[in-house]
Assembly symmetry: C2
C-alpha cells in the first residue's frame, strides 16, 4: 500500500499553488513545490534561478541533440540537454518524496511520474483570463500591459515541459481526476472539494 | 433572484445523464434531458427520431444557406435549416424550464443559453475511452467492434452542435465550474461533488 499523494497541475496565476498549500494544511501533510527545485539545486550545485530557466527550457532540435550526443569526448549523460538532466533529478526527488509519506506535489509532471502508485489523486486548476490576470498583477506584480502575454507564455512553457517529458498533453482532462475552475469557485472551495474527494477515494 | 440551475455537458457514455439524474434526485428537483426533445417534438409536431437527427446535424455550407434564404417564396424563418429551427425551439424550452424552478439540464448548450442567470452551475463529465467503451457496450448495446468509432462520432457531433450554436468550444474548461472524470471517480462520487459544491455556491 503506497502513501497517499495529491498532485496539482495549474495554469499560471490560477491559484493552484495556494490551493495545494491549503489542502496540505487541512490534511496535515507537507506540500512540495519550489522545495523540489531547491533540492535539485543542492544536488547538482547549480543556482535555483539557473535551474528554473533550464526546467522549462524550449526543446533543442533533433540535429542539435544528435550533434551533442555524438561528441566522442563526453558520456551520454553529460551530453543530455540541461532541461533533461533537471527532469531526471526532479523525477528522482519526486519519487523519494512519495516514498517518504503522504504529501501534495505541485507541478513538475508528478501525476505522470507517479502514475503507477495506487493512491494517487490528480487535480488540474484553471481559471478565466480575467481572474488570472488580476492575481498575476496583484500578487506577482506583473506589468498590467504585459500580463495576458505572460499568462500565455508561462502556460505554453508548462505545456511544452509536460509534453516533452511525458509524451502527453498537459491540458488533456483524462490525466486528472478532476479539473477545477478556481476563478468561478474560489480557492477555499477548490481546496474543500479536493480534500473531501481525496478522503472518499485514496484516504 | 433566479432559480438555481445545474447544467451538465458530457462525453458520450461517460455516465453524465445518470449523474444528472442522481443530482436531481438528491436535491429533489427535476432533471431534463430527452424531455426537452419530447417537448420540442410536440411543439413542432415532428417525430422525436427525426428531431434527434436534425438536432446534431452537420452544418450546411454558407452558399447553401444563402440559396435557401434568398428564396422569394419563403419567410426567413421557414428558410432556416432544420438544425437551426430545432435549436431555437430548444432554447425557448430551456429558458421556460429555468424560469419555472430549480432543475438539472443535461446537454443542449444549456450553460450557454442560460449564461446570464445568477445562479448557474456548469459541469462537464468526461472519462477515459476504456470505461466509456464498457458502458456503451453494456448499457447502450453498441457493437464492441465499432464502439471506439462511435464514441468519436457522437462526441464530434456534440462538439459541432455546441460550436455552431454558441461560437465556443465544447471542450473549453472555462465554460464550466468543474470537470469530473467519472471513469476515475465513479458516478456516485461525481454526483456527491456536484451536490456539495452547488450547495456551497448557488444554494
Amino acid at each position: 500500500m503506497s502513501h497517499r499523494i495529491i498532485t496539482i497541475e495549474r495554469e499560471y496565476a490560477s491559484g493552484g499553488r495556494e490551493i495545494g498549500e491549503m489542502i496540505a494544511e487541512r490534511l496535515g501533510i507537507p506540500c512540495y513545490n519550489r522545495e523540489i527545485l531547491q533540492m535539485a539545486s543542492e544536488r547538482c550545485n547549480v543556482s535555483m534561478d539557473y535551474l528554473e530557466t533550464a526546467e522549462e527550457a524550449a526543446p533543442k532540435s533533433f540535429l542539435y541533440t544528435l550533434m551533442l550526443t555524438s561528441s566522442p569526448t563526453r558520456t551520454i549523460e553529460e551530453n543530455l540537454p540541461l532541461s533533461d538532466k533537471v527532469y531526471i533529478i526532479e523525477t528522482n526527488i519526486i519519487r523519494e518524496l512519495a516514498e517518504k509519506g503522504d504529501c501534495v506535489i505541485v507541478g513538475r509532471c508528478a501525476s505522470y511520474i507517479l502514475r503507477d502508485l495506487e493512491n494517487l489523486f490528480n487535480v488540474f486548476i484553471y481559471a478565466d483570463t480575467k481572474s488570472r490576470s488580476e492575481r498575476a498583477v496583484q500578487e506577482y506584480h506583473v506589468d498590467e500591459r504585459r500580463v495576458e502575454a505572460m499568462l500565455r507564455k508561462i502556460d505554453k512553457r508548462r505545456e511544452t515541459f509536460y509534453s516533452i517529458n511525458t509524451g502527453g498533453n498537459w491540458y488533456d482532462k483524462d490525466n486528472y481526476h478532476l479539473c477545477l475552475n478556481s476563478g468561478a469557485l474560489g480557492l477555499e472551495l477548490c481546496a474543500d472539494i479536493v480534500v473531501e474527494t481525496a478522503k472518499k477515494t485514496i484516504y
